[in-house]
Amino acid sequence: MKKTILKSTIGAAFGVASIGLLASAAVGKDLTVVSWGGAYTKSQVKAYHEPYTAQTGTVIRSEDYNGGLAEVKAQVEAGNVTWDLVDVELSDAVRGCDEGLLEPIDKSILPPAPDGTPAEADFLKGTLHECAVATIVWTTIYAYDTTKFSGEQPSTIADLFDTEKFPGKRGLRKNPKTNLEFALMADGVPAADVYEVLSTPEGVDRAFAKLSTIKNDVIWWEAGSQPPQMLADGEVVMATAYNGRVFDAIATEKKPFEIVWDGQVWDLDLWVIPKGAPNKDAALDFIVYSTDTQRLADQAAWISYGPARASSVSMIGKHAEAGIEMGPHMPTAPENFKNAVQNDFEFWADHQDELNERFNAWLAQ
């Protein structure tokens, strides 16, 4: 009796598991789109994914990641690519293309602007690359909790490093990118000279020395959704963040945060297709759809990242839910753009390994 119970249990378990396995193995004609998660992915879902599915019927599966080429490289080298479309930073796009990890994209498929300007002229300078098409201009800034400072409020990049005037913990990205630029600018280097100084060993030393002045007051974040969370929890009084995430907290969650635009380090996000992606044609079709003038303007209604096309800028309206005018919150808005540095992708493609090593060493000491 006991043996039959045992046998039938094992048989049942096996049967259930097999059915489950077979069911999971069935794969549809989905498009797997990978992005950074949180409010940013939500804006893409609202502006691109949902209308695209409504129009073409292709189901889009959205996955999150924290940046970097590691997974793309692993998939391409294994010959088992599951990601069709990935949203990457510019240095990753360039490096990935050089190493043969990405499919080249023919720019002639991109749609022209409504007034007839061809795509290559409509896209902002430097946003179209051999294997990548840009969607947004985004920036790293720092934000602070207005309730934590009663008198003078932080207004410059140097204030981020000034724990005397503005005491409290800071949240910084756990990556040398942007941190080194901020450190140099806070130390007095003009925005235009930042990368020139950073290319010298003395410049790197200077940046790390400046970072060391606040090292004990730093809490490190890795995911884009963390800085607004840390500000809201009261763990930090200031935090560097991707500007769109902070704006989302201000607009939809009504948090008392303020963004300091001084010294912003802006960058591009681009679509790339890993080499050997299973649904390459659908991915290209999606790129054509999502980089359309109207679509880029639509995304700007959900998150405060600037569209990569000139024709979309004039179409930026109000936030879809909160009704705030988006224009003044864009990284490229004139008042915000006064002291801005463009992230030098060539510099980082060359030096990120070495500086990462040094950054890790500095962190661990």
């Binding site: 999971s24 193995a25 599966r61 294994a78 088992n80 599951t82 959704s225 969370q229």
Partner: protein, 305 residues
Amino acid sequence: MAALPPYAGPAGIAWHYGFRVFCGFVLLFLILPILVIIPLSFNAEPYFTYSKAMITLQPEAYSWRWYMDIMKNGMAAPNANMWSWTWLSDSWNNAQWIHATKNSFIIAIFSTLIATALGTLAALGLTRAHMPFRKLIMALLISPMIVPLIISAAGMFFFYSSIGLSQTFPGIILAHAALGTPFVVITVTATLAGFDSNLIRASASLGASPPRTFFKVIVPLISPGVISGGLFAFVTSFDEVVVVLFLTGFEQRTVTRQMWAGVREQISPTILAVATLLVLVSILLLTTLELLRRRNERMRGMSAQ
């Protein structure tokens, strides 16, 4: 030794009770963190501290919302008629946590079956007399348990990627089976160590052929060991997170993978609800093992007292 001897002086008494208090603290240290999160998973607010209302046991401070979130998160239409058939099948198909749970069970069941089959066979072979290279082979068979998981994960990642098994179900099942076999081998060899080989001879002398002896005599006696080894292997696979981090893609996401992502970014109390459910699973396993152990001892003629 346990009772306080009547001749103990004040130092002896102090030591006796002090010792017990210390042990009490250590046992509390062991169990308290796990018990602490259980009530928190019922917290009506999305925080991780006991609010005043919770401590004073007011009913409105407690709610099932995080458990509902487990079923709802990821659904296409979460606000449809609750508990209706469409709602249930929507949850079954789309809810992230349900999907992850399904994967965890599928992977764990298959890898346990493989591990138990191969492990039992190997243990039977190892306990035979005249097994050559016994120690070396035993060391090799136990090595997955000893090698740090990060190294196993790294090695498997490189190798499985190059043969196309990365981010597939068979890949992670094979990996977990490899990690689970040492447990089966150890428990079955331990069971076989107490095995009275006279039973085999008795069975042979009564006319049973070797296969018949195997199925009718050996298997029933080692089955507690096989089952407990299988349970160890199941738990190892179900709770495993490092290899899963490297070898699985989105489709094969397990409960532990999902928890890892949640804990790293932002702990929502849903994680605590999942953790509570996992603790319940542990309690179940513990009870099963205890019952098995008692049965085992009874069969061998030992009593639990």
